[in-house]
């Protein structure tokens, strides 16, 4: 849950996940799909096999003999995420909470390198239909689109060697709930004005 001020209005709180949070969720799912169990969050042997794309300062590379997966999570436009449901408010206090619910669409790219890239891509794709994946995603308001891309073998030429590479992509929906605390109307000012100017100015307290 993140929150930030909206000047002149109030404070917005959102369940929307950060890109890093989404990447970590998928890092753990892919590790499990590959049968790798990290001993803890700092297990470099495990986590070096499933990496997250675009590290800000860079990161060490891998060898042609290493099997490594990269996860790239980006939000993507879709007709489905244009609909926002603003829930009706019934409050008699001085403030009220305006709740807006909508769906974000995430595009996930799984990029496999290494001698077993093609087989590991098939292994992970097949695993995505398992219950534990659904449960892990649902816990964070994420729901996988079951139309998942086909793994495509696409070796890369680097330093005079062909590096095995296989990619596939998937999409998922994220249900986001934004809550904005606003002030209710406290008073109404009624002004009567003729061609001679203001003849009455009354403030009605509610």
């Amino acid at each position: 849950m993140s929150s930030y001020p909206v000047p002149g209005v109030g404070t917005m709180a959102s369940t929307g996940l950060t890109q890093q949070q989404v990447s970590i969720i998928w890092q753990n799912i892919v590790l499990r799909c590959l049968g790798i169990t990290p001993s803890g969050p700092t297990d470099s042997t495990a986590y070096s096999q499933v990496r997250i794309d675009w590290p800000t300062p860079g990161a060490p590379a891998w060898a042609i003999t290493d099997d490594v997966v990269f996860i790239r999570a980006t939000e993507t436009p879709d007709r489905y995420n244009t609909a926002h449901e603003v829930q009706p408010v019934d409050s008699a206090g001085t403030t009220f909470i305006e709740t807006t619910i909508y769906t974000r669409i995430w595009e996930l790219s799984f990029i496999f390198y290494g001698p077993n890239a093609f087989d590991r891509a098939r292994q992970v794709k097949a695993c995505l239909y398992q219950d534990f994946v659904h449960d892990a995603l649902q816990a964070s308001n994420l729901y996988l689109d079951t139309v998942i891309g086909t793994p495509r073998r696409n070796p890369e030429l680097f330093q005079n060697q062909w590096w095995e590479r296989t990619d596939f992509s998937a999409r998922m929906n994220e249900q986001v709930t934004d809550t904005l605390t606003k002030q209710t109307m406290q008073s109404v000012e009624v002004t009567l004005e003729t061609e001679h100017g203001i003849i009455s100015d009354v403030v009605v307290q509610l």
């Binding site: 890093q20 990447s23 970590i24 890092q27 753990n28 990290p38 969050p41 700092t42 297990d43 470099s44 986590y47 070096s48 990496r51 997250i52 590290p55 300062p57 860079g58 990161a59 060490p60 590379a61 891998w62 060898a63």
Partner: protein, 122 residues
């Protein structure tokens, strides 16, 4: 092996000056690569490797440029080897930070040379 060593030239006060090398070591963890950095005082020759360019892009002006650093001590690019794994050295010189992108292996002649890219972009 060469019989001449240029270490004395690299350390000569007539050419050399102080700068700081920030050396990182790290590992892959949940969420990405995590590294820690240690500042190491260096002494050596600093020279321009490229001109400082100004790139004018719609979002603003970007300054780029590279400097060459020569020292008796080695400097490193990003390396993956096990416990020695780490990101490339960054070098602090004249209040600007540079990242090592080229290492020229002159070790047999008693010195190391690195070319580093300006990081800030400002």
């Amino acid at each position: 092996m060469p019989t001449i060593s240029l270490t004395r030239v690299a350390n000569s006060p007539a050419f050399a000056q102080a700068y700081t090398v920030n050396r990182s070591t790290g590992s892959f963890q949940q969420g990405g690569y995590v590294s820690t950095t240690t500042a190491i005082p260096f002494w050596g020759i600093v020279q321009p490797a490229t001109e400082e360019d100004l790139q004018q892009v719609p979002e603003g002006d970007r300054s780029t440029g590279m400097m060459g650093f020569i020292s008796e001590q080695p400097m490193y690019k990003t390396r993956a080897a096990g416990s020695a794994s780490g990101l490339g050295d960054t070098i602090l010189w004249n209040s600007q930070e540079y990242r090592v992108v080229v290492v020229i292996p002159w070790r047999d002649f008693g010195f190391s040379k690195a070319i580093a890219a300006r990081l800030s972009g400002e």
